[in-house]
Structures are given as C-alpha cells and as structure tokens.
C-alpha cells in the first residue's frame, strides 16, 4: 500500500482551491439542490488537509494506514466529492451525477457508497463523537493514524458536540484534530443572532483542548496550524479557522446565510463562474 504524494506547493494548492470552488458551484447548479455556502468556506481548510497532510490510498481506500476524516458537516459533500475525485478515489465525470437517482454521490456523504469517505454524516453534531471513537481505537492499536473532523460553527449548538468535546479532553486524544470552519453563519442567518457559540476558543480551552486560531483562507497559516496540531502532545487540538461563508463568490458571501442550501439561479450561476474565472485544469464535467 502506498499513500498518494503530498505537496506543500502553495501555488498548486491555491490552483486546486479554485478548481474545487468551480466544481462546488457547478455541482449544486447541475443538481438544482445542495449546499454551496458551507462548502466554499471550507475549501482551503479541506484542500490543504487532503493534499498536504493526509495519508490515504485511492487504490485502496480502506488501507489501515490511512488517516481518517469525518465530515461532521456532511452537507459540505460537494467539496468532499470534488477533492476525492481529483485524488482519484472515483471517476471525475461522476461529479455530474451529484444528488441524482442511482448516484454514489448522495446529498450527504455516505461511507458505504463513496470510496474515501470514512463516516456517513449529514445529521449535524455527531462527527466529533465518531472521530473520538476512531482516535481511541487507533490509540488502543498503537497505530499512528491521525483523525480529523471537519465541523461547522452552527452545529456546535448540538449537545452531543459538547459531550464529545468533554470526553476527548478527558481522554487526551492528541491523535484527534477538530477543524472548525468558523464562518459565523448557519442555515437561518448569523450564528450570533440565533444561539451564539462565542467565546468558542475559551470553551474548548475549558474542556482541556489545545486551541489554534487562524485565518481559514490563508494556506500558509493552515499548513502551520495542522503541523502544530500533529506535533502537539497530551491534548486534542481544535483549529478554529476564521472563514467567510460562500467565499470566492461575492453574491454568495453577501447573502444572509452565505447562500446556505439553495441552488443558484442561472444568472447567478453564470455570474459566479465568470467571477471565479478558469482554473489551471478544465472542469471535470
């Protein structure tokens, strides 16, 4: 088994980010449904994770030497699928089938259907528990796999999140890193107007976590944060990443919920794609 090659070439990562942004908008437009805002906010966070850090083997997705990723915000499936297709986990053209009958690319990520997905999610607030289970299990086996959970800010309102955060702090699972896509918006609008999660860094610290705060669109800061998370011993780490929901498309960024869960109309779609501009590679579909 061999892991795919990693890169820390910042220009290459930035180019990949643009490719994934185009795919996200295209997939949701093509499916007439899906979640763009929370996919676009996490592009740099997830791209840097998969291309610069993760151990994984597209030819053998269940390789036991792999690092685990739990997409706790399972609605960010367009981003997950675009990355996995590019890494070779499934044919690139399959992105066109997103959310259509018979597809493997379900509305929310499904581990039984999609190679490279380690946990089926979508119902919010459950990902850190699953990731903690993986972290405790690999620690028992004394294997070096790292576990990453990609979470939303709104889903931190769920009680189960705090049960898991408390338990992980208690168990000192330093092989677990939570990425918090802190884009300040949820489905119905700004998090601070619904049930605010601030001060979120203090909350994690009080639950015995190592906390790193960064700009979640700055690849240099992301690389640095993930390196520190991997090196930190004795506590789980949360990378609290300041992001913008709908990032990269001004009309989405300005919308009250960051264009959470609706497809763009044709005019917005054309505008969004023109604004993003062409990537270094042609779109996959």
């Amino acid at each position: 088994m061999a892991a795919y090659a990693l890169t820390s070439d910042k220009q290459l990562l930035a180019d990949k980010c643009l490719l994934h942004r185009r795919h996200i908008v295209k997939m949701v437009h093509c499916a007439s449904s899906g979640h763009m805002g929370g996919s676009l906010s996490a592009v740099e966070l997830a791209t840097t994770l998969y291309y610069s850090f993760l151990k994984g083997d597209p030819a053998n997705p269940k390789w036991d030497g792999r690092d685990y990723v739990v997409w706790s915000k399972g609605h960010a499936s367009p981003l997950a699928y675009s990355i996995l297709a590019d890494l070779g986990y499934f044919p690139k053209a399959e992105l066109a089938t997103f959310r259509k009958l018979g597809t493997r690319l379900q509305g929310h990520v499904d581990r039984l259907k999609v190679p490279g997905i380690d946990a089926s999610t979508g119902p919010l607030g459950q990902g850190i528990s699953i990731a903690l289970g993986m972290a405790l299990a690999t620690r028992l086996d004394k294997t070096p796999n790292h576990v990453w959970a990609i979470t939303g800010d709104g889903e931190h309102q769920e009680g189960q999140m705090w049960e898991a955060i408390m338990a992980a702090g208690f168990h000192k699972t330093d092989n677990l890193t939570v990425i918090l896509d802190y884009n300040k918006k949820q489905l119905s609008g700004p998090v601070e107007n619904i049930v605010d999660i601030a001060p979120i860094a203090d909350k994690y610290r009080a639950f015995n976590w190592n906390v790193i705060e960064i700009n979640g669109h700055d690849i240099v800061q992301i690389i640095d944060a993930y390196k520190k998370a991997l090196a930190f011993k004795g506590k789980p780490t949360v990378v609290i990443a300041d992001t913008i929901k709908g990032k990269g498309v001004p009309i989405f960024e300005q919308e009250i919920s960051g264009f959470h869960g609706a497809p763009p109309c044709d005019a917005d779609y054309e505008k969004a794609m023109a604004g993003l501009g062409p990537a270094k590679w042609p779109d996959f579909f």
Partner: protein, 321 residues
C-alpha cells in the same frame, strides 16, 4: 373534491406552507401560542409566525433535544408550544426527550415536523424519515397525525392547537395535490371516507391518499370497486372504521410514505388482527433506507405510486378466502 396531478414544483400546496400560514393566523387568535424551531424555520415555515410575532418565536439553534425540553417547560408554565424541525430531527434525535419529558409528563407540546418521508428528495437517506410514525406511535399518550393535503393541514393544526396533550403532526416538503376544500373537518381518532367500495379498502395517509384515489380510478375501469379512506389520524386509530371496512370488503391495502414496519400498515394490521382478521397488504418502503433523487423517480423506485397500490389491491383480493 378537486384532484390534481402528483407532486411537482408547479401544482398544489405543500403541507408545510399550509402550516406556516395557519400558525401565523393562530398567533393572532391566541396569545399563549409560542413557536420553537431548530435553525430550519425557513424550511418548516415557522418563520412566517416568527416574522409576525418575534417575541413568541424562539430559534433554539441546531439543538433539537434542548428544544423539546424547553417546549415542555413552556407548556408547564401555561404556554401552548409548537416545536418544529425536519421529521428526522424532531422525532429521531430527541426521541427520549419526547418520551420522557413530553409524553410521560403529558406536556401540552405540539411537535409539527416537516420533510417527512421519501419526498424529501435530493437530500437523501440521512434526511428521509421513514420510521418516525413508528417511533412516535410507540409512545404512550402520543397522538400521531399525517395530513393528506394543504387544506386539511390547516384544519388539523387548528384542532391540535385547541386540544390538550402531546401530539406529533407529520408534514412534507413538496407541493401535494389538493384533495379537500374548506368543508373538511378533523376529528381526533376518526378517518375520512373519500370513496366507498366493496372489493377492497385502501387506507392511506399523506401524499399516498392522492395516489390511492388515482389507483381507485384505474381499478374502477377494470371493474374493481375499492373504498379509499384518509386515515390522517394514525393514533388514536379509527378502530371502528378499520373493522367495518374489514367486514365489508374482506381485504385491505395500506399506503404510506413510511416503512411498512410499524407505521400505518402496522397499526391497521394490529387492529384487524385482533378485531376481524383479513388480508392486509402494505404499500410503503420495504424496510430500507431511501436515497438522493428526484421525487417521481423515488416514488417509482420505492414502490409508492398508484400503480403499486393497484397491484397491492389485486394481491389483497386474491388472498381473500
């Protein structure tokens, strides 16, 4: 009675839209009504109430278990809380809270959930509640209602607002054909006979009522005379009506956008089994999860169209002794 085409974006009324409208009306009529949601008010349509009565609307965030507990507390302090989310997250996530805080306390909480069943469509299996009728029905004191269309939803929401005690109302995402006009009346524990017939009785809920009526028409052309009953109130079940239909027709078909285990089909089979055993053929999802897709394809694939109901009727009639 007007009967329109199957669910599509262009025709009919979504039961969730009817809910939003009537809830806002009720808000003006009764100052004790309060509404809670869990970051889905634009989808469940409780936002209509929220806009009109911001002081009596509480978006509890993505935290359904807490929402149910808070709703119960409000009811103990004299309010009439409506708590809404998607069916998956209003019944599944907080099941134990619903059982112990709401039902064991006999709290006057109305859980009205939208996006039930396979007609959720593209969001896929994780969001398609196909077990909610079963898990709500199993709790003592809980009543379970699944309206067939927009106008009946309005009457049902009005009825549960003035009734006291726990209730679960199951609503849906897409536009449904309109079956009733304003003369519809809801009575807890009573079904509505839409068509009388003698060869077989189709007992349906929700969207499947429209499909059942379509099936009845095609069967009529083939000389098969079926009754169609809208059993919007699944619990308490209209035992007397089920029994009289069993006696009269000697065969029953149930139809629901839910697992054939534990839902309407289960309830009807339990009833006939102890009152007057006859063949009961259940149309519903066959103990499986759903998947992403467009609604017509999903209805076809999961066996929920009028054609599937008509086939079930023929199978049920064949089983008669």
């Amino acid at each position: 009675m007007i009967l329109m085409a199957g669910p599509s974006k262009g025709t009919g009324i979504a039961t969730r839209d009817a809910y939003g409208e009537v809830l806002a009306e009720l808000g003006s009529e009764n100052p004790d009504i309060v509404v809670l949601d869990a970051d889905l008010s634009t989808s469940t349509k409780t936002a209509v109430f929220g806009k009109k009565f911001p002081d009596r609307f509480f978006d509890m965030g993505i935290a359904e278990q807490n929402m149910i507990g808070v709703a119960a507390g409000m009811s103990f302090a004299g309010k009439i809380p409506f708590a809404s989310s998607f069916a998956m997250f209003a019944t599944g996530r907080p099941w134990e809270q619903v059982r112990n805080i709401v039902c064991h306390n006999q709290a006057n909480v109305k859980i009205v959930a939208t996006h039930a069943g396979i007609t959720v469509g593209e969001d896929g299996a994780s969001h398609q509640a196909l077990e909610d009728i079963a898990i709500m029905r199993a709790i003592p004191k809980m009543r379970v209602i699944h309206p067939a269309d927009g106008p009946s939803t309005k009457k049902i929401i009005r009825a549960v607002a003035s009734d006291v005690g726990p209730v679960y109302v199951r609503l849906s995402r897409p536009k449904f054909p309109v079956i009733y006009d304003d003369s519809y009346e809801f009575k807890m524990g009573k079904g509505t006979v839409l068509l009388d017939g003698k060869d077989c009785a189709i007992i349906a809920v929700g969207y499947e009522v429209a499909e059942a009526l379509k099936a009845a028409e095609t069967l009529k052309a083939e000389g098969i005379d079926v009754a169609v009953i809208d059993m919007a109130c699944i619990k308490p079940l209209d035992d007397a009506r089920v029994e009289s239909m069993a006696r009269k027709c000697g065969a029953i078909v149930t139809a629901e956008e839910h697992n054939i285990l534990g839902g309407l089909g289960g309830a009807v089979a339990e009833c006939t089994g102890s009152k007057y055993p006859v063949p009961v053929v259940r149309v519903g999802t066959k103990d499986t999860f759903g998947e992403s897709g467009d609604i017509p394809s999903l209805l076809e694939k999961y066996g929920l169209t009028s054609r599937h109901i008509a086939e079930a009727v023929k199978a049920a009639i064949k089983m008669k002794k």
